[in-house]
């Protein structure tokens, strides 16, 4: 630590004596071994430096695409006909429906969410098995929004050095003004983030109008307020502390990983011993070994979580690849090959040091298993979606009384039937009953058709509950007979059946 620290202090403090204190504070950080140490550790302020390169471009692309989807998706329209909302993605809580383009989910089909969660977990595990914390580095909303807030911060308060200097010097009116503008912009982004969230729960254009004119439901404003607060706090102020202290995934990830998983790795076989540029050239000219790492610390300066990747795997490292970009840029300037930091494994470093070939093994038991589970779960979901019934019938037998004996000795059973119509238009159904030879079926409150057949109308995307009484004239009926209710769509002939029992007293 001492050698590294001296170097960095020398570099940083040549600008400002005030920075010395900051750097000292940052580096002393933890408790001193000489006493009990502080009860509470202050946060180390992180000023990540801007960087450009392949991974930065990937991150910008994902940020723009991800935010565009999040902010604009509620406005995408999808024509479902006259009896359903025209919003492509809508969680209709009062109507108890979830719409996703051509998919409509009813509350009893919420098991699809189980499937989605299985898929999400397995995709996360697969990403981890292939290339470590891909989710953390590129896709996690905490990363994406923090990145967005960093960009605003750099735009207003300047890049790392300007920002640090301004913070350390006596604050001028300009400093205050810049900070005020930054926080205002952060709050605007946070507010828009919360605003976009509520648009998924109601017709977006209508709700925007209502929000603007103050006529939206109170709960909408409450949720916008809560999400504005959380976005502003988590992305603006908490940042890497969310990943380090709050998020469970780094811990789970560390337990799930194996020696073949590619991670952002400092190739110490190539980097060590760290040697100053001039010294390294001298040594190489003499044919002596010299590490490629010049201890320029660019990798540390660009890191959004304040990690020194050269210390090895770190729970705080979100593996965003920005240190790769920073190091590659430096290597290019020095005329050395890129890739001193790259996606690699510790195992390969050791193998190279032993003169063996590195191993990149993507097809492993765990990647195959994760992929298989993804394919199976996804396949099951697709199959159930494709074969989803759009009519349904469920039957509940009366519990009390189980059966009724009529005055002529015949037996009657009562059932409550619910007919489900998942079509977006009104449908007409016929209900038949099979299983007993001589029966009379009566639909309470449903007028019969002209030909005497019971004829049940169910509204679009609705259910209808009916009471059905069945009287058996066959004497004497057995104590329990299995019976079938058959629901037929009169227009299409589509049929659905439900099984139940017909009960009768024991013959004495």
């Amino acid at each position: 630590m001492s050698e590294v620290g001296t170097l960095s202090r020398d570099q940083a403090t040549s600008q400002s004596p005030a920075l010395t204190r900051l750097v000292k504070a940052a580096e002393v950080g933890g408790p001193s071994p000489d006493n009990e140490g502080p009860l509470y550790a202050p946060r180390r302020e992180i000023y990540p430096q801007s960087v450009s390169g392949t991974f930065r471009r990937i991150k910008w692309t994902l940020l723009i695409v991800g935010c565009a989807i999040y902010y604009l998706l509620p406005f995408v329209r999808w024509d479902r006909g006259p009896n359903a909302p025209h919003q492509a993605v809508l969680i209709d809580l009062p109507g108890r429906r979830f719409y996703f383009f051509f998919i409509e989910i009813w509350p009893q089909e919420v098991y699809y969410i189980t499937g989605l969660l299985i898929l999400a977990a397995m995709i996360l595990f697969l990403m981890n098995a292939v290339a470590g914390r891909v989710w953390c580095g590129y896709l996690c909303p905490q990363t994406v929004w923090s990145d967005l807030f960093f960009a605003i911060e750099r735009w207003i308060e300047g890049d790392r050095r300007d920002h640090m200097l301004r913070d350390e010097r006596k604050w001028t009116l300009e400093t205050y003004a810049r900070k005020a503008v930054k926080h205002f912009l952060w709050l605007m982004v946070a507010w828009w983030t919360g605003g976009a969230w509520v648009l998924y729960f109601a017709d977006a254009p209508t709700l925007v109008k209502e929000l603007a004119t103050g006529q939206a439901p109170f709960v909408a404003y409450v949720f916008i307020g809560i999400l504005t607060f959380t976005t502003y706090t988590l992305a603006g102020h908490m940042r890497e502390q969310v990943c380090v202290y709050m998020c469970p995934w780094p811990r789970i990830q560390a337990a799930l990983t194996d020696e073949y998983a590619l991670n952002v790795t400092y190739r110490y076989d190539r980097g060590e011993p760290r040697t100053a540029v001039a010294k390294a050239q001298e040594l190489r000219a003499r044919g002596e070994p010299a590490g490629d790492c010049t201890n320029c610390k660019q990798c540390v300066r660009v890191c959004p979580t304040g990690v020194d990747i050269r210390n090895g795997a770190d729970v705080a490292c979100i593996q965003c690849g920005l240190c790769i970009d920073a190091c590659n840029a430096m290597m290019k300037k020095l005329g050395r090959p890129p890739g001193l930091i790259g996606y690699d494994t510790d195992m390969n470093i050791k193998r190279r040091m032993e003169g063996k070939e590195p191993i990149i093994k993507l097809v492993r038991v765990r990647t195959v298993l994760y992929a298989a589970i993804i394919v199976i779960a996804g396949g099951i979901m697709l199959f159930t979606l494709a074969t989803r019934e759009d009519e349904g019938i469920s039957v509940i037998h009366d519990r009390n009384p189980m059966f009724v004996r009529l005055s002529d000795g015949s037996v009657r059973n009562g059932y409550t039937i619910r007919i489900v119509n998942k079509h977006l238009k009104t449908r007409e159904f016929a209900l038949n009953f099979n299983g007993l030879p001589a029966t009379l079926i009566d639909l309470v409150g449903v007028p019969p058709r002209e030909d005497g057949e019971p004829w049940i109308e169910v509204g679009p995307d609705q259910t209808r509950e009916l009471r059905v009484v069945v009287t058996d004239y066959g004497l004497p009926p057995p104590p329990a007979t299995q019976v079938v209710f058959r629901l037929t769509d009169i227009a299409t002939g589509q049929q659905t059946i439900a099984h139940d029992h017909f009960f009768a007293p024991e013959v004495r």
């Binding site: 000489d34 509470y40 009366d398 009724v404 005055s407 509950e465």
Partner: protein, 290 residues
Amino acid sequence: MAHKEVDKLSGTATTGHEWDGLKELNTPLPRWWLWTFYATVIWAIGYWIVYPAWPLLTTATEGAFGWHTRSAVVADLSQLHAQRGPMMVKLTNASVAEIVADSQLTDFARAQGRVAFADNCAPCHGAGGGGGRGYPNLNDDDWLWGGKLSDIEQTIRHGARSGDKEDHEGNMPAFGREGMLKADQISAVADFVRSLSGLPTEPGADLALGKKVFADNCATCHGPEGKGNRELGAPNLTDSIWLYGPEKETIMDVIYNGRGGTMPAWQGRLSEPIIKSLVVYVYSLGGGEK
């Protein structure tokens, strides 16, 4: 006080405590964690101000906005009533016949009637109206006082032997206790009553005596053929439904001691729409007559 043991791997001091070889690192909490604690304290103070919080001697602090669980329940109930209001007005203004003719009103009345039945009627008639010994089953097609909509409405509104001015009257006298019939006559007529619905009689039963006793004493109310009389609530004795049971001992007990179950009058105790909902619900259980 101070101890200097430092964990070699992490460079962090330990607390000095050891459990089976495990030592706890003395890692300080991040400061923001402390802030969340202060935030909860501030939240609690805000909570005291906004909500009823501190118990006083006879009451409690009211809260800045007067919010109260009781007032919240009242508000919820009034919202529910407002929601149901239009349907309740329709139920109040429509006759039960009109309600049954309208499927939307029927669904509403049946749903509401089911709940009202469980609250008011189920103690005697059973959940689902299955009845019990002495309490009629409302699902079957045998009605003491009639099973048409108007009959059911009349019974629910005014009850049976309830003391209401328009209630159903008519009692089965205690033929034995009052000394009107002798034991052998009661036995004979009980056998005769069983024979009316085709039930087996005791060997050596005097059916002729029974028939004569029936014609002299019972036919007035139960009819010459024993088919009953709904005006008087006299059950049909020829079907297979028995209010108290078909055993000879039970029938003799009924004849000796008399019977006359009561049902309270619900008019005045329940609101108009609830009474009509109960009528529609009972009617739709399966035994309603056209």
